[in-house]
């Protein structure tokens, strides 16, 4: 029985789980940049962002 591998799986899971918030924030940020750029340059007809009134 490999004791190291038994220990490493939960530890890896914990580590991955702890990275979730940062990953989520970066996805939100990257999506914003991507949609903003695409929205303003290539797909203006989508009207991704509106103007006041």
């Amino acid at each position: 029985m490999n004791l190291d591998s038994q220990k490493s799986l939960p530890s890896l899971m914990t580590r991955l789980f702890s990275m979730l918030p940062a990953g989520w924030m970066l996805v939100v940020l990257l999506l914003f940049i991507a949609i903003r750029v695409i929205g303003s340059r290539s797909f203006q007809s989508l009207h991704v962002f509106g103007k006041a009134h």
């Binding site: 702890s18 918030p21 989520w24 924030m25 939100v28 914003f32 509106g50």
Partner: protein
């Protein structure tokens, strides 16, 4: 312009002092959980609403400038005495600011200064602008008539009028620029109440400042809080009601909650849906309490119910008596129960169709509801989002909610958020109608940011900081860019005149009619003409939403035939997107006295 700006500043100062006078009872009686600055902000906010209600009630009988000045000065004297007393007792919040709060405080001050200065620009816009179409039309007509009555040619002037009554008082005391200039004050109160809620949810004072700064730089919130829009004030009342309810214990605190809740339905019809939402949220919050506490809360809720009804009833009873329906124009459920004066069944149906179409968002199915956080962040224009809500609600609020999921305020706020969003989703998906929810999401966003900062994980800290930075910069850009145009109009009279010619429809005709002393009563034939710009009395037989304001007159030709019995001296005829010129040349009994592009003014011989 400088004199008008000075007059506007004086008007706002007097009305703010009057609000302090009307709300001063709150300050000493609010619980110890409230800091002095919170008590002061709640006193101003409650006073703003209560003073408006008092003016509205008196205004049903007389609404002269003299009455407004007398009432305002009387209440302002009380307010000044109250502020003097708390200053002498050392209870006025001092200028001390901790270092961590410096940056958000600068952002808040910057946005408020932009709001104030841009608010001094002369009002422009066509009938599609709510400000021009009804928020400021009602107040202007009431002052001319000397009484508060719905303006028959625009049914929206029968909406609850807490904000509009104050605009009328601002017009009367502060002149034409005062209503939009005052937005910085009510917007500031919204920021203060949001910060107070953030602190109640566990943030420190600098966290409260960050809540205020992020709320201030959220474009959709700003859009509903300036240019005489009422959504920001409505959200401030909602958040104040929630904040008060969270610590309500005694009868006075519950009554205060009831007053703020009443001001909700006295500001917007959507408040009628927020009241049951608040009831469900509070019932959930108190469900596991001891029997004794539950009894106390029940007694408090009953007192709150009475306060809510007393504050809100006036607007609905008045409509019922004068217009045949408490909610006017009647919603689908009331269409068959009451007959709405001036509105045909077809006009009501068209109005409902318009609301459904405008508020369709990206659909009304279950998937569309689940995708709302994403769509409101990235597809803001589908909700008339005016620049959106930034990234903090989507990126950080979930973390804040998870981090504080067991706390009492979080449970209440999550329930309120879900229910309010559901109600909004099923009725009209207009972004600015959801400002309360955005502010709550921002509170959780700042909590989430703090949580990430304390996590000890460098990547998470960096990602959170980056997200907040990008969101703030984006919000500032989206807000300041269009306001630069307004600020330009404030500092350059030449540019203001050019802007007026471009953005005020039929400005030349309005100038002619306003400056010509022989003009007494104007007949407006086209429903798209905004009478806000006309300083003279007028008759508009067919209103913006198809209102028929003169018995027996259903169209322009009927109106022209009836003009003598209506004592009309001049006729304004235009070639618009709605209809071509209505007066056929040569016109019997009419003489063309002014003509410009797409506009003609006739004198009645």
């Amino acid at each position: 312009m400088p004199l008008l700006a000075l007059q506007a500043a004086l008007g706002v100062l007097l009305l703010a002092l009057a609000a302090a006078g009307a709300g001063c009872a709150l300050f000493p009686r609010m619980g110890a959980q409230f800091r002095p600055w919170e008590r002061l902000a709640f006193s101003f906010l409650g006073g703003w609403g209560v003073f408006s209600l008092a003016l509205y009630l008196i205004g049903q009988f007389v609404f002269s400038r003299r009455m407004i000045v007398l009432a305002t000065v009387g209440s302002a004297v009380l307010g000044t005495r109250f502020l003097w007393r708390i200053w002498r007792r050392g209870e006025l919040p001092g200028p001390h600011l901790e270092r961590r709060a410096f940056l958000p405080a600068v952002i808040v001050v910057f946005i408020l200064v932009v709001t104030a200065v841009a608010g001094l620009a002369p009002v422009v816009g066509n009938w599609e602008s709510d400000t021009v179409a009804y928020h400021l039309l009602g107040p202007k007509v009431w002052l001319k008539a000397g009484i508060i009555r719905p303006v028959a040619d625009n049914c929206h002037t029968a909406f609850p009028q807490t904000a509009e009554t104050m605009y009328a008082a601002l017009f009367a005391i502060g002149g034409p620029l005062a209503p939009c200039f005052a937005d910085f004050f009510t917007f500031g109160l919204l920021l203060a109440v949001a910060a107070s809620l953030g602190i109640r949810c566990g943030l420190d004072p600098s966290g409260g400042w960050w809540v205020a700064a992020i709320v201030a730089t959220t474009p959709a919130i700003f859009a509903g809080s300036h240019f005489a829009f009422v959504d920001g004030l409505y959200a401030a009342f909602f958040l104040a009601a929630v904040r008060t309810a969270l610590d309500a214990d005694g009868l006075f605190e519950w009554t205060s909650f009831g007053v703020f809740r009443g001001l909700l339905i006295a500001t917007k019809y959507t408040g009628l849906l927020a009241v049951p939402v608040l009831a469900v949220g509070l019932a959930f919050l108190h469900r596991k309490g001891e029997q004794q506490k539950w009894k106390q809360a029940s007694a408090g809720l009953a007192a709150a119910g009475i306060a809510t009804a007393l504050v809100g009833a006036a607007y609905y009873v008045r409509n019922w008596v004068l217009l045949g329906c408490p909610i006017y124009p009647p919603p689908p459920g009331l269409v068959h129960l009451c007959h709405a004066k001036y509105l045909s069944a077809q006009a009501v149906q068209d109005f409902h169709r318009y609301i459904l179409q405008r508020g369709a968002g990206l659909g009304r199915g279950p998937l569309a509801f689940l995708l709302l956080p994403f769509n409101l962040t990235y597809h803001t224009a589908n909700f008339h989002g005016a620049g959106g809500i930034g990234l903090i609600p989507l990126g950080l609020a979930p973390i804040g909610i998870l981090a504080t999921r067991k706390s009492r305020p979080t449970k209440l706020l999550v329930i309120l958020t879900v229910l309010l969003t559901l109600v909004w989703f099923l009725t009209q998906q207009e972004s600015r109608f959801l400002i309360s929810v955005y502010a709550i999401a921002i509170v959780f966003g700042v909590i989430g940011w703090r949580h990430s900062e304390m996590s000890g994980r460098r990547l998470e800290r960096a990602a959170a900081g980056l997200l907040v930075g990008v969101s703030l910069l984006y919000g500032l850009f989206m807000i300041v860019k269009p306001e630069v145009v307004s600020i330009h109009a404030v500092i350059s009279s030449g540019y203001a005149a050019k802007r007026r010619t471009q953005l005020v429809p039929y400005a030349e005709s309005f100038d002619y009619l306003n400056q010509n002393p022989s003009v007494q009563e104007v007949l407006i034939l086209d429903r798209s003409v905004p009478p806000f710009y006309l300083d003279k009395n007028y008759v508009k037989p067919v209103g913006q939403w198809g209102e028929l304001t003169v018995a027996g007159v259903k169209n322009s030709q009927d109106a022209l035939a009836a003009m003598r019995s209506l004592s009309i001296t001049h006729v304004l005829d235009v070639n618009s997107t709605v209809a071509p010129f209505q007066v056929q040349e040569p016109a019997a009994g009419l003489q063309l006295v002014f003509e410009a592009e797409n506009q003609r003014v006739y004198r009645v011989n």
